[in-house]
Amino acid sequence: MSSTEMRYVNAVTQALRDSMEQDPAVVVMGEDVAHAGGSFKATRGLLDTFGERRVIDTPISESSITSAAVGMALTGLKPVVEIMFMDFITLSMDALVNQAAKARYMFGGQGSVPMVLRTPHGGGLSAGPQHSQCLEAWLAHIPGLKVVCPSNPQDAYSLLRAAIADPDPVMFIEHKAMYASKGQVDTTITAEIGDARIARAGRDVTLVSYGATVPVCVKAAEQLAKEGVEVEVVDLYSIQPWDKATVLASLSRTHRAVVVHEAVQSFGVGAEIVATIADEGFDELDAPVLRVAAPFMPAPFASSLEKGYVVTVERVIEAVRKTLA
């Protein structure tokens, strides 16, 4: 099949639709996912095709619907749960951390929990402190969970197909400000959880990023290219497990690295990547590894504040210049 241009949100819907058509065990559930088609319309049209048994509107009970997904997954289904905003996974944490993540290990490998939790993170919409957070580091810290975060419609499609097919619990992190972004999607292209992609090749500095800050990094790279600085951008679309080999191989070409993400910097995903580079890539380094991320504060509401909170092209360029200085 040739590729089609579609929005990020429609790529998510297409992946759900194709997975549901292929496997009758796949069910979708969450708040307003059926009749309303999802708060961001990611599940629009699925109810008409697959019916109420497989596209389930739930009450506003994040804790129990996530736990119910664990019970479904242990009883022959492959549930895909939508949590409307990532901030609300605070209510799902027992189900994710104590139940889904540990079932396979603590039951001695008798079975696994083939569930997917889809949820949008990120700011830029003045959604305020409880509707803008990027909490993926919490999830990546839990042995047993897998965490992925696509940066474009193609990866959103391919990674969601991979997540649903995966036998383990996968946290599928979308970005609410990216839902409307467009790109080519070829439904025959597959992605593997644990891999990364070189989004742009370069020889001078490695930028490692995921999700919505990948296009920001690419823009920064394009501007720097005008000055003769060639930046390589690694799209770490799989956060746990993450493709250490691709990052270290890039570092061995550029000898400089900057890690970029929207989540707050302290104790974030970037800290793990930087620590690994310091440990395993130390001999390759020609400069300290830097991070560009949110300041250590709750996500703000006012546009003037949010501008200072989110990662911008200018901040990325500044960090690249610093690492080259």
């Binding site: 389930i56 009883t75 079932a103 993450w242």
Partner: protein, 328 residues
């Protein structure tokens, strides 16, 4: 003539129930010794005195059914049919354990029997059982899911959420409350102001209360509840009043309990009551106990002889397909 046949059937049924209760009692009694002897690591929570509930509920289940249980879940998994040797190896932290020594007492599970695990988090099994009931409904397996919980879990929000969803969608979910009056170290009367019957009623869920120390009464109530569930009539809450003989955890001195209450716990023993009936009908319960005791002893010996689990193998089961090179 007919009465004789009925009597004979009743005795056979009670004998089967007694065997299950004796197995649970003897396994847990062995665990008290093994724990005192430091042969069982960690924490164990015993269900001595509550065997009538586990056995009675399990007697109403069919092979396709599933259950999620609690930290006090030994009885439920044994009554469902978990192999005693695999169970004992697990509790004693051995490689041959049902969960390869990775879960222990609070996480015993046997997915082949629909046992979705004991649970270390109070109330956490309730919504897991809800999801399992939804799966039975969606997949049209004809099965039911059982959520065992203690009266302490009545104060957990997930029970309330689950009652709502199970009633909303008429899920085949049997909610079994083992009401022993104790929420860990506190009387439940000091922790929970509502009544379970009224809570079930608020959601329009069917409710019945039964003496949990009368195994036949529990079995009959469970049969009726399962008929209700299999007929698609929605969730059923079965409150079983029972008695916690031991502490919250093994080794708990229970100084918070009245000495009079502790002395009287044996008056409610479900095994004693069943034994009286069986002996009057000429059944040799001593022989049954001895036969099961020998099985339990053999399980303990097998566990003692079994290998200890290794880190190399344990780390392989964190994910189904471990991505060794890429593992962060």
């Amino acid at each position: 003539m007919k009465n004789n046949k009925q009597d004979k059937h009743a005795v056979e049924r009670l004998t089967g129930l007694y065997r299950s209760m004796s197995r649970i009692r003897q396994v847990e009694t062995a665990l008290t010794r093994l724990f005192a002897n430091s042969e069982v690591p960690g924490f164990i929570h015993l269900s001595i005195g509550q065997e009538g509930v586990a056995t009675g509920i399990a007697s109403a289940l069919q092979p396709q059914d599933s259950l999620a249980t609690t930290h006090r879940g030994h009885g439920h998994v044994l009554a469902r049919g978990m192999d005693v040797t695999s169970f004992m190896k697990e509790i004693m932290g051995r490689e041959g354990g049902m969960c390869k020594g990775r879960g222990g007492s609070m996480h015993v599970a046997d997915l082949s029997l629909g046992i979705l695990g004991a649970n270390g988090i109070v109330g956490a099994g309730i919504p897991i059982a809800l999801g399992s009931a939804m799966a039975h409904q969606i997949r049209q397996t004809g099965g039911v899911a059982v959520a065992f919980f203690g009266d302490g879990a009545m104060a957990e929000g997930v029970l309330h959420e689950t009652l709502n969803m199970a009633a909303l969608w008429k899920c085949p979910l049997l909610l079994v409350c083992e009401n022993n009056g104790w929420s860990e170290f506190s009387p439940t009367s000091r922790q929970f102001v509502a009544q379970l019957e009224k809570l079930a009623g608020a959601f329009g869920a069917a409710y019945a209360k039964v003496n949990g120390n009368d195994v036949v009464a529990v079995s009959e109530a469970a049969q009726q509840a399962c008929e209700h569930l299999r007929a698609g009539k929605g969730p059923f809450v079965l409150e079983c009043s029972t008695t916690r003989v031991r502490g919250h955890f093994e080794g708990d001195a229970q100084k918070y309990r009245d000495s009079g209450e502790l002395e009287s716990v044996h008056e409610h023993d479900p095994l004693t009551a069943a034994r009286v009936t069986l002996q009057a009908a000429g059944v040799d319960t001593v022989a049954i106990d001895q036969e099961i005791g020998a099985q339990v002893d053999a399980a303990v010996e097998a566990a003692r002889a079994d290998a200890l689990p290794t880190m190399e193998r344990a780390i392989q089961d964190v994910y189904t397909q471990i991505v060794q090179e890429k593992q962060a």
